[in-house]
C-alpha cells in the first residue's frame, strides 16, 4: 500500500502537479492514507502532506536485514605481548609521515618492526591497517611487516584483496595450501609464497618452480630466478641450465649469473676449461708469476654461458672485457686449488692486471667467498665486496677502507657497510664513520654519508653528532641536515630502548 503511494508521490513530485495531475481517485486514496481532513480543492496540499506522512512511515517502519548468519572465523590468537605504549606511538608517527628523517621514515619503521619481532612483541591492533597499506606500496617493508604483524595481521589481510601479499604467507603454512597459492594465486601472493618457501625449504621451492616453469611469462621467469638467488644450490642447476636457452635475454642473463655463482655447476666447469689454456705460470714456488693471456672471440657455447660483447667498463678493450667475464664466472678454487696460489699471491702477481682483479672481485661476490673477499677488500676497498662478506668481516674491512678511500667514495662505502647486515653497526665503525665524515671536504658526500649514518649507525653515536652540530656556525649549510640526522638517531635510540 505505502510503496504504491510512494511511487505515485515520487512521480508527481518530480515534475509537479501541473504537468502530472493526480486523478480524483489518487487524491482520495492519498487522503485516506493520510487520514487527515484534506481539502479536495488543493492537489498540492494533498500531495505534500501525504509525502510527509509516507516518508516518515517508511523511515520509522524499516526493518533490519536478516540473512544467513555469517560464518566468519575470528582472528587466531597471538600470545606475544603488545609493544609498549611509547614504542607504539613512535610507530604510528612513522607510519603517518609525521616524522621526517633523512632517507625516509620507512627505514626506521623497518628497524622498529625488526626489533619488535626479535623481542617477541606484537604491534598494537590499531596500526595493522596502516602497516598493510605501507607494505602494499613498498615491497621491502613486507618481510618485516609480516614477521612483526603475526597471525592477526595475516587474518586481517585476508579480508582485502589489496593485501593478498600478507595473507598468503600465513594461510599457506601447510605445504598443500602453499602449492595451491602458487598454482592459483595472483602475482604478488605467488612471489611472497615462493620467497617464504625458499627460505624454509629451498628444495621444495625449486620443485614448485619446475612444475610451472613452462607456463610462466618471461617477466615472471626473471623474477622467479631472482628469488632463487637466496638458498642457491646444486638442486637448482637443471632449471638454470634450461634457462640458458630461454627466449628472453633477461632470463638467459640471470640464469648465467646464478650458475656462475655455483662453483660446482657445469657452467663453472666450462668457464674453468676456457680460462685454463690462457694461464701461464712462470718461476718457482713462492716466486710464481701469474700471467693470463687475452682470449679469442667467444664461440657459441661461451655466448650461451653468458659471455657478452656489450657492457664493458669505459676504456676496457673487447678482449680484456671477455677475459674479465670469464674470470668472473670461474670458480675461485681454480686459482687456489688447481694452480696452488693463495689469494694474496694471486693479487700480488696480477698487480699490473686490473682486469684480473675485477674478475676475481665479481667471482668473490658471486660465490660469496669470504677468503678472497677479505684479501680483495684489504687491497682495495670495493663497496660491492663488502656485501659479500659476513658482517663480522665486512665491518672491520669497512672501517679500514674508510681510512684509505677518497672523500667522494665515502658514501658508497658506508651504504655497502650498511647493506652487509640488517643490524646497526658496532660502535667503533659508527665512530669511525662520523670522524671520517667530519674530516670530509666534499660537502655533498658528507650529506649523503650522514644519511647512511642516520639509518645504520649505532644510536649511541648521537651525542658525538650533537657536539659536531654545536661546533657548526649558524650559517653552516650542513646544520639543517645534521639536525635531522641527530633527530633520526634519537628516535632509533628510543626504539632500541623500548625493545631492550
Amino acid at each position: 500500500m505505502t510503496s504504491a503511494a510512494w511511487e505515485l508521490l515520487v512521480a508527481v513530485a518530480l515534475v509537479g502537479t501541473e504537468r502530472k495531475p493526480v486523478s480524483a481517485e489518487g487524491i482520495t486514496a492519498l487522503g485516506a492514507l493520510v487520514d487527515l481532513p484534506i481539502e479536495q480543492a488543493s492537489e498540492e496540499a494533498t500531495v505534500l502532506t501525504a509525502a510527509g506522512v509516507v516518508a516518515s512511515y517508511r523511515r520509522t517502519g524499516f526493518l533490519p536485514t536478516r540473512g544467513q548468519r555469517s560464518e566468519q572465523e575470528p582472528a587466531p590468537t597471538d600470545d606475544r605481548p603488545e609493544a609498549s605504549a611509547a614504542a607504539s606511538q613512535i610507530l604510528e608517527l612513522l607510519l603517518d609521515g609525521h616524522i621526517k628523517v633523512p632517507g625516509g621514515a620507512a627505514v626506521l619503521a623497518a628497524e622498529w618492526l625488526g626489533r619488535c619481532a626479535d623481542r617477541g612483541r606484537r604491534p598494537p591492533a590499531r596500526v595493522l591497517p596502516a602497516l598493510l597499506d605501507h607494505g602494499t606500496r613498498s615491497r621491502e617493508l613486507r618481510g618485516p611487516i609480516v614477521a612483526a604483524g603475526g597471525p592477526r595481521l595475516a587474518w586481517l589481510a585476508g579480508h582485502n584483496p589489496n593485501w593478498a601479499w600478507a595473507a598468503a604467507t600465513v594461510t599457506a603454512t601447510e605445504e598443500e595450501d602453499a602449492n595451491e597459492v602458487w598454482r592459483t594465486g595472483d602475482h604478488a601472493a605467488r612471489m611472497v609464497r615462493l620467497i617464504a618457501l625458499r627460505s624454509s625449504d629451498p628444495a621444495a621451492a625449486i620443485e614448485l618452480v619446475q612444475e610451472s616453469w613452462a607456463g610462466e611469462k618471461a617477466r615472471d621467469r626473471a623474477e622467479i630466478l631472482d628469488v632463487l638467488r637466496a638458498g642457491l644450490g646444486s638442486a637448482d642447476e637443471a632449471l638454470l641450465e634450461q634457462g640458458l636457452d630461454d627466449r628472453a635475454p633477461t632470463v638467459r642473463g640471470a640464469a648465467a649469473d646464478l650458475l656462475a655463482s655455483l662453483p660446482s655447476s657445469a657452467l663453472a666447469q666450462r668457464m674453468t676449461d676456457r680460462v685454463r689454456p690462457l694461464v701461464v705460470l712462470d718461476g718457482r714456488r713462492r716466486r710464481q708469476q701469474l700471467n693470463v693471456e687475452l682470449p679469442d672471440e667467444p664461440d657459441d657455447q661461451a655466448r650461451r654461458d653468458g659471455i657478452q660483447d656489450q657492457g664493458a667498463p669505459r676504456g676496457i678493450g673487447q678482449r680484456t672485457w671477455w677475459l674479465m667475464q670469464l674470470v668472473g664466472a670461474t670458480p675461485l678454487g681454480f686459482w687456489t686449488n688447481e694452480l696452488g696460489l693463495t689469494p694474496a699471491q694471486a693479487l700480488r702477481s696480477a698487480a699490473a692486471r686490473p682486469e684480473l682483479r675485477d674478475g676475481w672481485t665479481t667471482a668473490a661476490r658471486r660465490q660469496r667467498n669470504g677468503e678472497w673477499a677479505r684479501e680483495l677488500v684489504a687491497d682495495r676497498p670495493e663497496p660491492a665486496l663488502l656485501r659479500a662478506l659476513p658482517p663480522e668481516d665486512a665491518w672491520p674491512a669497512a672501517e679500514a677502507a674508510l681510512r684509505k678511500c677518497t672523500d667522494g667514495a665515502v658514501p658508497g662505502l658506508l651504504s655497502s657497510a650498511a647493506g652487509a647486515a640488517t643490524t646497526p653497526w658496532p660502535a667503533s665503525l659508527s665512530a669511525a664513520a662520523v670522524a671520517r665524515l667530519r674530516a670530509n671536504k666534499n660537502s655533498i658526500a658528507t650529506e649523503q654519508g650522514l644519511t647512511v649514518v642516520a639509518a645504520a649507525a649505532d644510536p649511541s653515536i648521537g651525542p658525538e653528532l650533537e657536539r659536531w652540530l654545536g661546533s657548526l656556525g649558524p650559517q653552516d649549510r650542513l646544520r639543517h641536515h645534521l639536525r635531522t640526522v641527530v633527530h633520526a638517531l634519537s628516535i632509533r635510540h628510543t626504539i632500541a630502548q623500548e625493545f631492550a
Partner: protein, 97 residues
C-alpha cells in the same frame, strides 16, 4: 545509550523518529556485533543474525583490526538507514574508525 540488540535498536529508532521525524542522525549502541561482508557490502551483524548496513564512506579495516572478528560493542550514528561507527570496544583508548 544502553547497548541493544539490532532488533531493539531499530525499535528504539522508530520510536524516536515517530516522535520527531525531522531528526536525520541518531545515536546507536549495538551489543555483540561483528563486522561481516555480504553481497559486496560490509554490515554489522548481531547474534540473532540481524544486520545493519555500514555506511559506504566507512572502511571496515580498522574495526576488523581492533575487534579481531570477535563480537563487541559498536557505538555510532544511525544515518539514512546506515550506521556510521565511531568507536568499538575496548573503549579505554578510542581510535578513529
Amino acid at each position: 545509550p544502553q547497548a541493544l540488540s539490532i532488533a531493539d535498536t531499530v525499535d528504539q529508532l522508530s520510536t524516536w523518529l515517530a516522535a520527531n521525524p525531522w531528526r536525520d542522525r541518531l545515536p546507536v549502541a549495538l551489543a555483540d556485533t561483528v563486522v561481516v561482508e555480504a553481497g559486496g557490502r560490509w554490515w554489522l551483524e548481531d547474534p540473532a543474525g540481524d544486520r545493519l548496513r555500514l555506511a559506504r564512506s566507512v572502511e571496515p579495516w580498522m574495526m576488523l583490526a581492533l575487534s579481531d572478528g570477535q563480537p563487541g560493542l559498536v557505538v555510532g550514528e544511525w544515518e539514512d538507514g546506515e550506521v556510521v561507527p565511531m568507536a568499538i570496544t575496548p573503549l579505554q583508548d578510542p581510535v578513529p574508525l
